[in-house]
């Protein structure tokens, strides 16, 4: 079918023998020598050498450039993010919605991982390439709840076993204590958000995480998270993290860390102060520099648009010389 298509677009004077030749064409006489994928290469050093019949290696030019240009670009970009973030921060690739379609996004996930990222939100990339996958909670999930009445199921047994406990009620009682400690009015803590957190926690008690910025981080997201995490703690479970998706991420991370420390100290839950803080929202290299300058308390960073579209240099101009 490909040859039939070519016949339809090439000049009618093209000889049949040429199409017969194309139909039998293969790369069996071509040898490719390349730097191992993931190697650091310097400018002006050939990283791929192709030997074979002239016509075949000419046909390979565009294909090979397509396969290496973006891959090298995004791996380099990922390495720059890793360099700025330092070795201890976890970097998560979340670029699917801004990539050049599904396949572009898969390349972005694969080569971000090679460039030093820790995980991806692209589940198919995880499945195809063995990259660790990580997810989070959507604002739409939080907003789909309005009150604790909607939580279903409600009961959670303690980790060590025993009688199941009504988690919404337990979280509600913790919310009073947390708000008292933080001196925030409990009525400002959004009930739908609390319901969403409790619903998440009752389903994934060992993997509870809170997205804090759907309503107000300080008066709602953070007290609600602490209440649910302390309720879980009472049953023997540990929350795994919080996430911010808007606002001044570095400043908020410091305030969140202060609150987590205060709760940990006051309620005698030492692990509380080390709960990982994850951020996202149009993160660029400049964002990472600012986080570092402001002494942020951020542990996990999700990078999407600025990773997969490489705005500082959106294309890499590798060339193929015959």
């Amino acid at each position: 079918a490909d040859v039939a298509y070519l016949r339809s677009v090439l000049p009618s004077t093209t000889e049949d023998a040429f199409f017969d030749y194309l139909a039998t064409l293969d790369a069996s006489e071509v040898t490719v020598s390349a730097m191992p994928e993931g190697s650091v290469v310097f400018a002006r050093v050939p990283f791929l050498q192709v030997k074979g019949p002239l016509l075949v290696v000419q046909l390979l030019e565009t294909t090979l450039l397509c396969l290496v240009n973006y891959a090298s670009l995004v791996a380099t970009n990922a390495a720059r993010f890793r360099f700025l973030a330092g070795p201890d921060v976890k970097l998560m690739e979340i670029g699917l919605r801004r990539a050049q379609g599904p396949d572009g996004a898969l390349s972005a996930s694969k080569y971000s991982y090679i460039g030093g990222f820790d995980c991806t939100s692209n589940i198919l990339a995880g499945k195809l390439y063995g990259i660790p996958v990580r997810g989070t909670v959507a604002h739409s999930f939080i907003m789909s709840f309005t009150s604790l009445e909607e939580v279903q199921p409600r009961e959670l047994p303690p980790l060590a076993g025993g009688e199941p406990v009504d988690l919404p009620a337990l979280a509600e009682s913790w919310l009073q204590r947390v708000c008292e400690l933080l001196q925030t009015p409990p009525e400002k803590a959004n009930r739908g958000e609390l319901a969403a957190f409790v619903s998440y926690a009752v389903t994934f008690p060992r993997d509870f995480q809170g997205l804090l910025d759907t309503y107000c981080v300080r008066r709602s997201g953070l007290p609600n998270f602490c209440a649910v995490a302390l309720a879980l703690h009472q049953l023997g479970y540990r929350a795994i993290g919080v996430r911010l998706d808007s606002g001044d991420l570095a400043q908020q991370s410091k305030e969140i860390r202060r609150v987590l420390r205060a709760c940990g100290a006051h309620f005698q839950v030492p692990w509380f102060e080390t709960i990982p803080i994850a951020v996202s929202n149009d993160i660029s290299e400049q964002s990472l520099e600012e986080f570092s300058q402001e002494g942020s308390e951020i542990d996990i960073i999700g990078v999407g648009t600025h990773l997969v579209t490489c705005p500082l240099q959106p294309s890499l101009g590798c060339v193929y010389k015959v």
Copy 2:
């Protein structure tokens, strides 16, 4: 297999019923209303509306954003190029080697065409989407010849029929006359380049085009092209164009047009002065503005990197609101 993979990455407490539910999940209860593809939409106007069960429409969020964001971005970018180029210039998409892999390149070709481009160099995009395809000659093809001895076959019959003519010899005699007219030394016209042009012309006499900038446009590429095109003309054929891939494209296009006019007038070949001039080489919106300011004689423009990676704004931030 997808469900088995999800089971391997989700918490072990996840209920079996959830995976059973996922296995039966489909979008049969989802309705999508969208603006027709290729429509002009204004900012803040919803262009896609999705209705259906909450969980299903939440799962569709990232997929839909991935499919519409880049498509809208590149179609808009293509329309900006079309606006700057005006209605008469042919615009050719040549971004495959800088796109995000093969699939990103296919999206780029499709949505550049929707945005107002005329054709693509991506043959698969032509086959899949019915986009007109156009190609050109590679510098490596020109450089693979060193002398007229290598041209094979050498004979071409006139279009109207009759005795085949030795095209290398005919082109060589025309080269003398052209060089005399242009007052350039014939020995500066590269023999390998002449051989490549003749070889192309003998194979595709109705579709001959010349890539002029492998050696020196003024002293080699242009005299060689005119010689072969005039030889073809003597046999009843018309060359279809020239292409430039380096240097000051607008200035060179004006010099080329002057030479084509001079040859057309001197050798009484009126169509010669309208031979289309195609250019490529990192063309941006700014390039098009400069072409227009300098009154260029360019007829066809190939745009690659700046079209498919949209450096002025490398991503479009469409959002999905529940």
